[in-house]
Amino acid sequence: MATVTQSTQEVTPSPSPERPGGPGRPLRRLGDRVFSGLSTGSGVAILVILAAVAGFLLMQAFPALTTSPEVLQAQGYGPFLSWILPFAWGTVWASFWALLMAVPVSIGIALFISHYAPRRLAAGLGYVIDLLAAVPSVVFGLWGSIVLAPAVQPLYLWLNTYLGWIPFFAGQPSGTGRTLLTAAIVLAVMILPIITSLSREVFLQTPMLHEEAALALGATRWEMITMAVLPFARAGIISAVMLGLGRALGETMAVAMVLSGAAVVHFQILTSQNPNTIAAVIAQNFPEAYGLKTNQLIAGGLVLFVITLLVNAGARLIISRYKEFSGAN
């Protein structure tokens, strides 16, 4: 950043009073050069930081990826791919359940705030939901493991007894309630605000004329929403859900504090043997890790980084396409 500025200054020693480029070109003052250099440099610095995140992670992950499987096996780590796969599965599986619970509820909340709640209350209610986003994740973790897990444990027993024929609810239910489903509930609560606030924005952008036209034709409020609001907002909802997914995939503390996960791959979500997530396994093991183990965990972080990057970039692409082609206004 600083080097960019200095180099531009060196090229132009001092601003001359007469216009150097002839009468057609505007005067470029020293302050202007410095300022535009600084601000452009900051913008470029962001790209550099993002590249550095990928680069440094790759450099530190390299030993774990290139060390021969025998050496890794001898140190008790196992080859990287078979180490990461169960945790990748856990990450996807927990996020799936979190989305399953969060998406309908948050779309409902967004509709409530944008189309159902009294106008005067709507802004205040939106702020209440935003409060959820302000709670630090470590507090969610504490709440999830000490308060939520014992509270939902009877429900798990009930699910297991009466719905145990569904593969998800089968197996020996956990006695503590600290299961994958509990972690998914906490994740769902944490991604609720982001999905809600983004879909609410889109719902509010629905052209008023579309809504009024539907109502004037005799549609009920729900018919108006299904005919005018939801089709208009479809792309916005999809990208909001993807951003929520990105948040759920990378969320660490809630899962790390609720689950005592293991490296297993199965579909059951009520047992005490739960697949751990990549982020949680890094958080739980990193403080005590040394040597190759550190490299292996960083390589795991790299995998997580790539997954969330793809999900987020996809969501942003949908948003930008949608901005270009939406028929609003």
Partner: protein
């Protein structure tokens, strides 16, 4: 209900409509039935089960009543209204439960000792989070010092200078950067320190670097939005007086938006002050006060909460109490920052005249 509708049939405007109190009557009736089922059949009254059962009874009952009296479309509308309202109430449950538990379990240890003692040589009862408060102050402060200039200048670039591919690319990657998982930011800071200063370099500054990666995009987003709503007339008036562009930005654009920028910065501090995972990795754990961010691990408040919960000693209750008290402190801090940010934004925002 049927009597109410037959007597009202005289009025053509309300004929075939349910009276306004139908929902409340149905809700109260459902809850009553649910409570009785819960108390008699399921062994013991429990508010949670009753509320859940009540909702299960209420939704079809309200639907059927509307279906009989008003018809299919109105019934679907009523069902949707009830579901949407229910979704909102459902989301309030975890929020209220979390706030209540944090308050009730955190208050016993929310005392002077918490803010004046560290955990050095403390086993069991006593001790506090002073070391973590110092750490949070240093780490967040340095992260703010790094992020605000970069974020602010980037926002200025995007609004005032940015054209073409570079600006589009920066906008896109700032958005992508907001989605970086916090733990990856921590791993990045650790990897950077390991390569530059040797493996295992863990200190407060590394934590600040990790937080900066998370904070910069938030600052860019917040300030960019603010700079864009500065009216163009102000810039044009300034150019018309012959003021150079950079002077226009520093003495016209920025002062107009300053209250929003300050509040945006405060809100972004509130967003990152609760980050745990990156600090665990980059800034580490310690039980002592460390006021040098460039050497040795530095405890921070969120990591303190995690540490007390995850690595308890004998008599777990003391450790849990400290964890809740730390959580309460953290929530109070975040709420105060949020309110302060919103207050500044509302109180000092320029009047745009419309």
């Amino acid at each position: 209900m049927s009597t109410a509708t037959t007597t009202r049939n005289a009025d053509p405007l309300t004929a075939g409509q349910l009276p306004g109190y139908t929902t409340w009557v149905a809700l109260a009736g459902s809850l009553l039935v649910a409570g009785m089922i819960d108390a008699s059949l399921l062994g013991g009254f429990d508010p949670g089960t009753t509320a859940f059962l009540g909702a299960v009874i209420f939704l079809p009952v309200a639907y059927l009543v509307a279906r009989v009296v008003q018809g299919r479309r109105a019934a679907a509308d009523r069902l949707a209204t009830n579901l949407v309202t229910g979704a909102f109430l459902l989301a309030l449950l975890p929020l209220l439960s979390l706030l209540w538990e944090t308050l009730s379990q955190g208050l016993p240890r929310f005392d002077v000792t918490l803010f004046t003692w560290s955990m050095r040589n403390v086993i069991g009862d006593g001790g506090g989070a002073a070391h973590a408060l110092y750490g949070t102050l240093y780490v967040t402060g340095i992260a703010t010092l790094i992020s605000v200039p970069i974020g602010l200048m980037t926002a200025i670039y995007l609004v005032e200078y940015g054209r073409g591919a570079l600006a589009r690319g920066i906008t896109f990657f700032v958005d992508v950067m907001t989605g970086i998982p916090s733990i990856v930011a921590g791993l990045f800071a650790y990897a950077l320190m390991a390569i530059v200063f040797g493996p295992g370099t863990i200190n407060g500054f590394a934590g600040s670097l990790a937080l900066s990666v998370l904070m910069i995009p938030i600052v860019v987003r917040a300030t960019e939005e603010l700079l864009r709503i500065v009216p163009n007339e102000l810039r044009e008036a300034s150019y018309a007086l012959g003021v150079p562009k950079w002077r226009t930005i520093t003495s016209v654009v920025l002062p107009t938006a300053v209250s929003g920028i300050v509040s945006g910065v405060i809100l972004s501090i509130a967003r990152i002050i609760g980050e745990t995972a990156p600090l665990m990795i980059a800034a580490g754990f310690t039980n002592s006060i460390n006021t040098n961010p460039f050497a040795n691990p530095m405890m921070t408040l969120p990591v303190f909460v995690y540490d007390q919960y995850a690595h308890p000693g004998v008599d777990r209750i003391f450790y849990n109490e400290r964890a809740w008290a730390g959580a309460l402190t953290l929530i109070v801090l975040v709420m105060v920052l949020n309110l302060l940010g919103r207050f500044i934004a509302n109180r000092f925002s320029p009047k745009t005249g419309r």
